[in-house]
Amino acid sequence: MNATKSFLTVVLVLVLSSIALAADIYGEARGYTSYSFADGDLDYGTSLRLKYNPSLSDKYYLFADLTLKYQDENNFSPVRLNELYVQGIGAISEDIDFKIGYLHLTWGASDAFSPVDNVNPRPFNQSISGDVFDDKIPILGLDVEWYMNPTWSLEFVYQPEFRSNFTPDYVEKLLLGYQLAAAAKINPSPMDIQISKIEPDVSFTNPIWGLRARGKVGSVDAAFSFLKGYYLSAYPYNTDITTWDDGSSLADVEMGYPERSVLGMEFQGEIPGIAGVTFRADFALFMPQKWTNHITTHQPDGTTSFTMVDVFDELYWKVSVGADYTAGDKTYYNLIYMLGNPYEEGNNVSPYLFLRLEKPSPNDKWKPFLNSILSLEDGSMINIIGTDYKPKDNWLVSLSYSISSGAPTSKLGMTGDSISFSVKYVF
């Protein structure tokens, strides 16, 4: 069955690629596979991304971006509308640009994960490559940018519909099981979890919104933002656990999306006195709604206990501060300190060090690289060593080997070792 699906997808990719080549459509076709040595799992998939960006007039443009994707598991959707919007350039007023429709908005200056980039939800992905951070679920919204003067602009985002991150059911239950078991002091393995979720009441009159001022402070490019909305992942607020004599348990979990406001600051520029180094820094102050999980546990002997776990109870920071440098021999260095990864919030936020090294060959066809991420909290680490190869300008082949170290329960040790291969054709 999987082989048939793969074959059909490949056929579909080829057919649509030829149609796209005939029209003014551009995009990319990609095939990828990875093998996890830890659990012997082979993942694979193919995708075709098509983009269309015609001008409707001299001030209005249409942008459509669609992905057809086959993935053996955890596929958010086989047909993904990445973006579909109308863009006005100086259409309403000379100093105002806008986009309306299904949008991807990217905030933040950081090369890796930016803690300021919180508008779009994301599909689940276990990889830590740069592409993953660009993989987003679109929001229905309006994005207006007013260019107040040659130095500063003010951006306003209006989102009348809530969309959440996509996390596969089994992943959500796995993570939740560990959290609940720790809180209720029971064994997580035989726990059956039933989840019900309530989405926040977001509408035209009660939208998610954001403001962002972009400009310069001295010679440094800076941006200051405020985003008023909700967490994009659900958190439990009411949990009812029943345990039985055999050690198994059933958990009914009611989850919701806490309100949050995020104050962001972004900077990029040169470090005075250190020639050739570009720094990029993002700071995000999260102001969450107080959120408590009320856990009721029914023991086999008929007794009932109550526990309250504070999920969010105070302000917290997430940070990404880094610098990049290209040496005379074209070796590229990028070192980033991160406080918090995309999946960590509140009390779980922890520090990491990220290093990216690239050493292109003289003709730029080969680009060996090293991606390392180190948890400064528990010393666990992931090292990805690999190479990109460009046999032709519109082809890219990537091969990488990922090695993780640390205890199985550590931040990064659970990832295990894996090998990945991908081929991309741009047309």
Binding site: A109, V277, D364
Partner: protein, 257 residues
């Protein structure tokens, strides 16, 4: 009589020496003249093709558009925008250079954000060409180089330029200058060890009615990896009416320029 002839000859020699010393140009003056030929206060839109040839001789053609503004009064006002229009791999990849190359920004549509390129990042090659960001940067002014006149013949001057910037890839540039029109016909770039590295050959120029020189064809050769970028301008429009804030981060994010 003999004394008179001797006086006349001495006088003539003295006049000639005075004449030549008055009209011989120093290296800095030659650079000034080149700048004067390019530093006409104007905006410009150029459409062209870049042919990239790899070390095996395979070629790829890219369409491009470039906007620039020159300001002879204040070189800090010099700016340009360079965008690839095709093929898809680099479509709409756009570079913005401000303040005569002091500030460089790169817009890559796939990432939906503008990236500041600073310092030694200017050594990186731009979108698969063998031009570095710094090569695109600005002109060759006496402020940026310590220059000396190496030789001259009837048609050309040859200058040696040593970069004042210590954070550079080049130890020296050797520039061949056309004596009549005052433009550089060829620049040889030497690496930090003094070995020949790149060669910029100007193959065709157009002399405008105001005396300025417009480059129509050039080849940039990397001798180390044996690659070439041939740039041919198909149209060059001068005095283009551009908005006051055209050379900005806002502009390079637009789907069309």
């Amino acid at each position: 009589m003999k004394k008179n002839i001797l006086r006349i000859v001495l006088c003539a020699v003295l006049c000639l020496v005075t004449y030549w010393s008055a009209f011989a140009l120093t290296a800095d003056e030659i650079l000034d003249k080149i700048e004067a030929k390019r530093s006409i206060n104007t905006t410009q839109k150029s459409i062209g093709k870049m042919t990239l040839t790899d070390e095996k001789g395979k070629q790829e053609i890219r369409d491009l558009v470039m906007y620039s503004v020159d300001d002879s009064e204040n070189t800090q006002n010099r700016a340009f925008i360079f965008r690839f229009l095709s093929p898809a791999e680099v479509k709409n990849v756009t570079m913005l250079s401000l303040k005569d190359g002091e500030e460089i920004y790169l817009y890559m549509p796939a990432f939906k954000k503008v990236r500041r390129i600073a310092g030694s990042s200017k050594k990186e090659k731009f979108a698969g060409t063998n031009f570095s960001f710094g090569d695109f940067g600005g002109g060759y002014t006496k402020d940026d180089y310590e220059s000396s006149l190496v030789s001259e013949d009837e048609q050309t001057y040859v200058l040696d330029l040593k970069p004042n910037d210590t954070d550079t890839d080049y130890s020296k540039l050797t520039m061949t200058v056309d004596k009549e029109k005052f433009y550089f016909k060829k620049i040889e770039f030497f690496d930090l060890e003094g070995n020949p590295w790149k060669v910029l050959d100007i193959q065709e120029v157009k002399e405008e009615t105001d005396g300025s020189i417009t480059i129509m064809k050039l080849t940039f050769t990397d001798l180390k990896d044996n690659t070439k970028s041939f740039l041919q301008m198909e149209s060059v429009e001068k005095g283009v009416n551009l908005a006051k804030d055209f050379f900005s981060v806002r502009t390079i994010q637009r789907p069309q320029l």
